[in-house]
Symmetry: C2
């Protein structure tokens, strides 16, 4: 029996409000396109063909992926222009090669001469050519070479000179923006992210190497570039759904959060001042990113079945399949939340919450059930 209304869904169930999703997408698109850059969304958050198509008005376009499984899944759905934005290792080249042979315009990234040499050798041996970005570390957050590292020019030269590789560009990700405490700080990181790439691009130019593409982005910084001169494309992912962590950063409000987990009240424990729900560590994730923010959202905020925030409640604990909901102050009014009644939990980190679910039950703007959107998982 296909469910026709929220009350007929099996819980826990991942919900997505299409109108909020569309609003988030349009806001980001108009911002980035208005700055003269291309949006190459990171599809690792939703991992959904339907969501990716919504990003391109029903069609396809350039995407960023975090796994080769995603690359294969999205290529199968018609997305050919793919940037695989996690450092490549030689053992993964056969899968990249297979995608390329099948027609994918796939780009890989690396940050060492050692890996570049191995990629060039593989490409030459297979009589094919890999498109390679060099990863730049703008803020000591993750992998990549520091903008002033002389290795960058050496790698670029190697990629240019070898038949098995093509120097496709440089990319960076301002991961430290996630640790910001104010919009002003995020703006500084946005400028740092952009200017790091510009610096590298100019320096390469001075050695006679043209940078075909400059690619940057994170959901927080993507909202706050004052210009993108010299930047070709912006990558961002979580902005499609938003979440409580983004709210804590100040990059969205609770009303922008498009994803929630529908859950049933399964037990009342007045002596603990808690009620239990059937969304626990798997359905919600154990992400506690907001613990370091001004307002700690514990394991998530609580809404009623229609998605209206219930200010007084919070998820204060999770076991594998149990969530604990308590009152922020005073006694829980259990009569308001009978056993079997439905609540919705807003996620701390949309990417992590979505990961345990097989797909999304979409909601239309009138609250009726829309399509079910499957997602890909694994590697």
């Amino acid at each position: 029996m296909v469910p026709e209304r929220i009350s007929e869904l099996d819980t826990p169930c991942l919900l997505v409000e299409k109108s909020r999703l569309e609003k988030n997408i349009n806001s980001m698109k108009s911002r980035i396109l208005g700055l003269g850059a291309v949006l190459r969304p990171h599809v690792k958050t939703a991992k959904s063909l339907d969501c990716a198509r919504m990003l391109f008005g029903g069609g396809t376009g350039p995407i960023t992926v975090s796994t080769l499984r995603e690359a294969e899944y999205f290529f199968g759905g018609g997305f050919a222009d793919i940037l695989y934005a996690v450092s490549i290792v030689p053992a993964k080249l056969p899968r990249v090669h297979a995608l390329q042979k099948a027609g994918a315009d796939i780009k890989i990234i690396l940050d060492s001469l050692e890996t570049a040499t191995a990629v060039a050798a593989y490409g030459k041996a297979q009589s094919m050519c890999f498109k390679v970005f060099i990863e730049i570390d703008c803020d000591r957050h993750r992998a990549g070479l520091r903008p002033d590292d002389p290795q960058i020019a050496k790698i670029a030269a190697l990629l240019v000179e070898n038949a098995g590789t093509e120097f496709a560009g440089i990319l960076t990700h301002a991961g430290e923006a996630y640790a910001c405490n104010s919009i002003e700080e995020i703006k500084e990181h946005a400028a740092l992210e952009r200017d790091s790439l510009r610096t590298v691009s100019y320096a390469l130019n001075d050695t006679g190497i043209k940078t075909p593409c400059t690619s940057l982005g994170s959901s927080p910084t993507a909202r706050f570039y004052d210009h993108l001169d010299g930047i070709d494309e912006v990558r961002a992912g979580v902005f499609v759904f938003q979440d409580l962590f983004q709210r804590g950063l100040g990059t969205c409000t609770v009303d922008d959060i498009a994803m929630s987990v529908l859950t049933s009240v399964i037990s009342h424990r007045p002596d603990q001042n808690r009620l239990f729900i059937d969304a626990g560590a798997l359905a919600l994730s154990k992400d506690r990113g907001t613990a370091s923010q001004q307002e700690d959202c514990l394991y998530g905020f609580v809404c009623d079945a229609e998605g209206n925030l219930i200010d007084g409640l919070i998820v204060d604990g999770v076991n594998q399949e149990h969530g604990c909901v308590t009152a922020r102050s005073g006694a829980l009014d259990f009569a308001k939340y009978p056993i079997g009644s439905l609540l919705r939990i807003l996620p701390n980190h949309a990417c992590m919450t979505a990961a345990a679910h097989a797909g999304y039950q979409t909601l239309e703007s009138d609250g009726t059930l829309g399509d079910y959107w499957p997602r890909c998982t694994g590697w």
Copy 2:
């Protein structure tokens, strides 16, 4: 191409060493059977038919599940005797009913007169009978009624008197044992867990109601009952794989941990004294349970590709698809871990780590690849 050795596996990849798994299973079985009780393993950890069959010497037996999806999956694989150990809500009764009609001997649990009334009404309306356990809260950790709650006798009487329900027993779970700091404390929780059920059972007997089954268990307490008089069955789950949290509790050693995540070194960052691996927040989980223990394992311990612990290394950060490995003290010796080389990460919490993976690549005791064991996910 089917991989024939570890070096041919796509990373990240969830590995299970069969010999350790068998040892963990045999140890728990002999302990519980030796105390005269039945082991009803909680299959929510592995969610794997192959693993469940290993628990029963290749056959089937009584199991505990945490979702109806698990119940359906394991019933499909021949496991008929199933305890669904999360409080039922009326909306889930049709799926339970369907399993029962198909031949499953499925038991459900609840902790309120309200739910018991609804279950009885549904059973009567459908001319069928649900087998119902009453959940007891022995340590204020989760759902259930306190052992001295007069509601217990009322619910038991209702279940006995109604045609739509059968009083199947009482169950409890010493979840607070996970917060213990010593074996002595775990032993106290084990005794509390057992004696709580005995108290309830005796009290029900005094009202003329016989308790058909007493069911208890958690992986920590299950190792430390000095007797199980009056107890019929023990439930435990994570003991099959063990993990760093169990090690921190003192219920296993690092050498007992049967699960690990195979990962590739993907980047060297000497300026951060870190190397990056392709196992991040999804492949490892963000579980930080060990943060409250004497030794904080951060995001996991590091082993070489053969599974030998590398004492000096630890995973000190995760992004979605990146893990950061650093030296516990001093400078990382990058030459030992070239890009593309393989490591294995021991999980903080096996249930959470396994959740993102589609299945297990088993390893034989000589290190060669065994069968691939799929697992079920979702709800």
